[in-house]
């Protein structure tokens, strides 16, 4: 088996606060192979963005990695010095965030930002860098790229801006792209364009993509595999078809069933009672047990189940589901 | 009251307060000075403005030394007329704090009302109010205060002049410090008036007064509190400056500024204490109120919260 592009092992993030130590990410493990899109899905506060930030090394103090390992192309990156980490981040990991304006400098033209990044990370001449920038802009679908390269970010529409950010993320030819809610701020028609673009680039360039989103529809459209997070823990991981059609974790099943599409033609939507517990107030045992219909004494008392407690290795649940929803 | 204090202690603000030695020290300082001013008649050994309690033989008694003629003892010494400097400071502190607090209250009510109207109504009303504020800002506060003071002095009959002086001082300082309140409240009103809860209130049929004072104002309280604290320090200093220049509190009702003006006449002739102790008190008062305001601004700033 080839070495995965990204390998995360038992990653934990802790935030010390006056209410005690919170753990927004708790022993999360997953791999992403080249050319694969892993969707990380969960509700707000599930720890999905924090996981992405921990992988890149962009945690804002006082949050910090408290355990586990992050391997990129066979190299351990979470223990590197800050400066080395910064270089790796620019060179081998590309980032796309929800709001394209946060990743673009409003005072520089798009071309300046692209060529600067290319020159910093690749051994090319200035002229070549500009040529590459134009190519990149064409590749992400910006019409008249050769002219628009000298425009400023505010001269682009929201969807076009997100394309520029994707071009920027790809400019140093990274092996991993982390996209954090890249389509959430966009309209439906533009969202479809951006998802299509991500899929195409991933396939053509063999980039590994970690796609963080709360939208199951986006995951279904784009991802190859899905990791479902709940209260900082990995609840389920598997191929997109398996997780959506035959979820093994009770939370994952509830999540799929509560989307309006899954309840087409029914008068009421299926719903999960309650809401996700706050980080400081996780229940004992499985974090989902207060909302789970099938919770037993074991779920309330025993330490949190992990993926290895499921014979199929898919769900962190004592009683994984079999069969369809 | 006790539950209020304990809930403050447990809140985020209380947490920030406990972690800031400067804030704690300033708060203690302010409370001590406030209490001293409030209970001055009971704390002070004499009423320095009751001539029957004074003894001219005590004139220029140095601090912490027994007067050889009267055997009286003065902690901070005595002035040229035999007044206990400690007592004059506490009485002066009363005037200074009263003028400061009332001036800020006046500026606050004026600034908050005008700011709310400017921000909520907008358009031409907003332009008129804010341009007035801009024009006012181009004159130094002291100049405005002196102007108002001069006019009032000319208008008021001589026998009332000393009584009126304090109120003129309050209005003059208050009129010169309403602008920061108006600006910050206007900004908050412009943000809040587009929030959905204001739309919901309109939909419920609430009038503009209710929306301004019950919906928008409570959400602008933090910056108002910060500005009020910092303005208090500035108002106290402004009062002292005016009194020092002789256009403030009259010598019959001296504030700290008046005391400093009187004291500086003796500073170079050896009786330093008449100037030094009032000046030190003013410094500590202004400094502690100002540091409290600084801390409050940081503690209430949402962008600094985690």
């Amino acid at each position: 088996m080839p070495v995965p592009v990204l390998s995360v092992r038992d990653l934990s993030v802790e935030i010390p606060s006056r209410y005690g130590v919170m753990r927004p990410v708790d022993r999360v493990s997953f791999d992403i192979a080249a050319g694969e899109i892993l969707g990380v899905v969960g509700e707000s506060g599930a720890g999905k963005s924090m996981t992405g930030n921990a992988v890149i090394g962009l945690l804002a103090r006082p949050a910090h990695i408290s355990g586990g390992e992050v391997w990129l192309m066979g190299q351990r990156i979470d223990t590197l010095a800050t400066e080395t980490k910064r270089r790796i981040r620019g060179r081998r990991i590309g980032m796309v965030f929800q709001d394209p304006l946060t990743s673009l400098n409003p005072l520089l033209t798009v071309g300046q930002q692209l060529t600067e990044t290319i020159l910093e990370h690749l051994a090319v001449s200035k002229k070549e860098a500009r040529q590459r920038s134009i190519q990149l802009l064409q590749e992400v679908g910006i019409p008249a790229a050769a002219e628009r390269i000298d425009s400023y970010p505010h001269e682009f529409s929201g969807g076009m801006r997100q394309r520029v950010v994707i071009a920027l993320a790809l400019s140093a030819e990274p092996s991993l792209v982390i996209a954090d809610e890249p389509t959430t701020a966009l309209d439906v028609s533009v969202q479809a364009q951006i998802i299509g673009l991500l899929k195409r680039l991933c396939r053509e360039r063999g980039v590994a993509v970690m796609l963080v989103t709360h939208d199951m529809g986006v995951i279904a459209e784009a991802a190859d595999r899905v990791a479902v997070m709940y209260a900082g823990r990995l609840a389920e991981i598997g191929s997109v078809r398996d997780v959506i059609l035959t979820p093994a974790h009770h939370y994952a099943r509830g999540l799929m069933a509560s989307t309006p599409l899954a309840s087409l033609g029914m008068r009421r939507l299926r719903q999960i009672p309650g809401s996700m517990p706050r980080l400081g107030r996780l229940p004992q045992g499985c974090a989902f047990n207060p909302r789970c219909e099938q919770a037993t004494q074991r779920c309330r008392v025993d330490p949190t189940p992990t993926l290895s407690d499921d014979p199929n290795g898919r769900a962190a649940c004592w009683y994984p589901l079999k069969g369809t929803i | 009251m006790i539950s209020r204090i304990s809930s403050f202690w447990a809140s985020d603000i209380g947490w920030s307060f406990r972690g800031s030695p400067v804030a704690i020290l300033s708060a203690i300082m302010v409370v001590v000075l406030l209490m001293a001013a409030l209970f001055a008649p009971w704390i002070t050994p004499q009423n320095p403005f009751d001539p029957s309690e004074l003894n001219l033989a005590n004139g220029f008694s140095p601090p912490l030394q027994e007067n050889p003629f009267t055997n009286d003892f003065f902690v901070f010494g005595a002035d040229n007329q035999g007044r206990d400097v400690f007592s004059t400071i506490l009485y002066g502190l009363r005037i200074s704090l009263m003028v400061g607090v009332l001036a800020v209250a006046f500026g606050l009510v004026l600034g908050v009302s005008l700011g709310l109207i400017a921000g909520y109504v907008g358009g031409r009303v907003d332009s008129i109010i804010m341009r007035t504020a801009d024009i006012q800002l181009t004159f130094p506060a002291i100049l405005i205060a002196m102007l108002i003071f001069g006019i009032a002095k000319g208008v008021a009959p001589i026998e009332y002049r000393d009584q009126v002086a304090i109120w003129v001082l309050i209005v003059a300082i208050g009129l010169s410090d309403w602008v920061p309140f108006a600006r910050v409240v206007r900004g908050a009103a412009m943000v809040q008036k587009n929030k959905d809860f204001v739309l919901a209130a309109k939909l419920a049929g609430q009038g503009p007064m209710t929306i301004m004072f019950r919906h928008i104002l409570p959400n602008a309280m933090s910056p108002i509190l910060v500005i009020a604290t910092i303005s208090l320090a500035l108002a106290i200093i402004a009062e002292a400056t005016l009194s020092f220049l002789g256009v403030g509190a009259p010598p019959t009702k001296p504030s700290l500024g008046t005391l400093i003006r009187v004291g500086q006449e003796f500073a170079l002739s050896g009786e330093w204490w008449i100037l030094f102790f009032p000046a030190l008190t003013l410094l500590m008062l202004a400094l502690s109120v100002n540091s409290l305001g600084d801390w409050l601004r940081d503690a209430l700033n949402p962008s600094l919260k985690s």
Partner: protein, 329 residues
């Protein structure tokens, strides 16, 4: 997973009895630069047509959805329907009466998108819910407690502040407030788009239940077709301030007539879409300040011809719906 063909609407349709009539509604905004800039830079006055000539009826006891992307004017229409905004032209009739600032006597209420901005953080839940009653001088004792239990919270919650609740619970409080004045119509502006999926289901179910219990009529504004499909009886699709198609929900989803509606349906993410090579929509929504001439959708439309560039298509009845397209499918 069900397929669209199994889709049924279990609602019976009685003789039409319309509660809301929107007639030729338009709204323009002045987006000119400030007066001095105009004078110095010799710029003209500029207006934005947020809503142009929109008409529709909403039957009593039904859910009418307005769907559209950003700049479609759906929120502006919602504000005009509840009387928070004056139309530039046209009318909104609710039970035959004109809607406006004076007609806000509690008969029309609104549920807002952002549950964090729609509740005053300094007010107790009791006062928030009772506000529509108190503002009209009514007696509000016990109303908040009663309504809190109706929306699935507890009466004890009345004394708490909004920040003590989660997003979904706050939205329930917002719904309770909307119910307080006994409205006939509630305009719901993206009521679940700020909520997580599992909470969204709770809130949508609650809204359905309350509609039956109180005999409410909803105008449901959303960009999310899957939510609309679940909630609505009829759907109006907006593009750049104009209504381009209006039809019963089952007709719209199975047999859309307007190419824009088709594009939207095709572009919406689907749960059963793994590996699907969706036909990716072309172009983006144009700048609403200077929209394309003729049919505003023509630059993105696969069917566009010369006539689309020249003239704005009129609304025409098709089956049980209406469509504004020169080349309706």
């Amino acid at each position: 997973m069900r397929t669209p063909s199994e889709f049924t609407v279990p609602k019976d349709r009685r003789a039409s009895d319309s509660l809301v009539s929107v007639l030729g509604l338009s709204r323009t905004f002045d987006v000119s630069p400030p007066f001095l800039n105009r004078l110095i830079e010799r710029l003209p006055k500029r207006t934005l047509k947020a809503v142009t000539d929109v008409s529709f009826n909403v039957e009593r006891g039904t859910v009418f959805a307005l769907v559209g992307e950003s700049g479609s004017g759906k929120t502006t229409i919602g504000r005009m329907v509840v009387g928070l905004m004056e139309p530039s032209a046209g009318n909104v009739l609710i039970d035959g009466e004109r809607s406006g600032p004076d007609s806000r006597r509690g008969g029309v209420q609104m549920v807002f998108q952002d549950p964090y901005a729609s509740l005053n953080p300094r007010w107790r839940v009791r006062d928030i819910i009772a506000e529509p009653v108190v503002a009209q001088g009514g007696k509000a004792t016990g109303i908040a407690e009663q309504l809190l239990e109706k929306v699935g919270l507890s009466a004890d919650d009345a004394k708490l502040f909004p920040h003590q609740f989660s997003g979904g619970q706050r939205q329930r409080i917002g719904i309770a407030r909307a119910l307080a004045s006994n409205p006939k119509l509630i305009v719901c502006d993206e009521p679940t788009s700020a909520l997580d999926v599992s909470v969204q289901a709770q809130v949508l179910n609650l809204m359905s239940d309350l509609k039956d219990e109180f005999g409410l009529t909803y105008i449901f504004i959303s960009h999310d077709l899957t939510v609309v499909r679940h909630m609505a009886d009829r759907i109006g699709v907006l593009y750049l301030g104009r209504l381009v198609e209006e039809a019963p929900v089952e007709e719209l989803f199975t047999d859309a007539k307007h190419p824009y509606t088709r594009m939207l349906l095709e572009a919406a993410p689907r749960m059963d879409a793994f590996g699907r090579e969706a036909s990716i929509p072309i172009g983006e929504i144009p700048d609403p300040i200077s929209p394309p001439p003729g049919c505003a959708f023509h630059p993105r439309c696969p069917l566009a011809t010369e006539v689309c560039r020249r003239s704005v298509p009129a609304m025409q009845p098709v089956n049980k719906g209406r469509v504004a397209c020169h080349h309706a499918l």
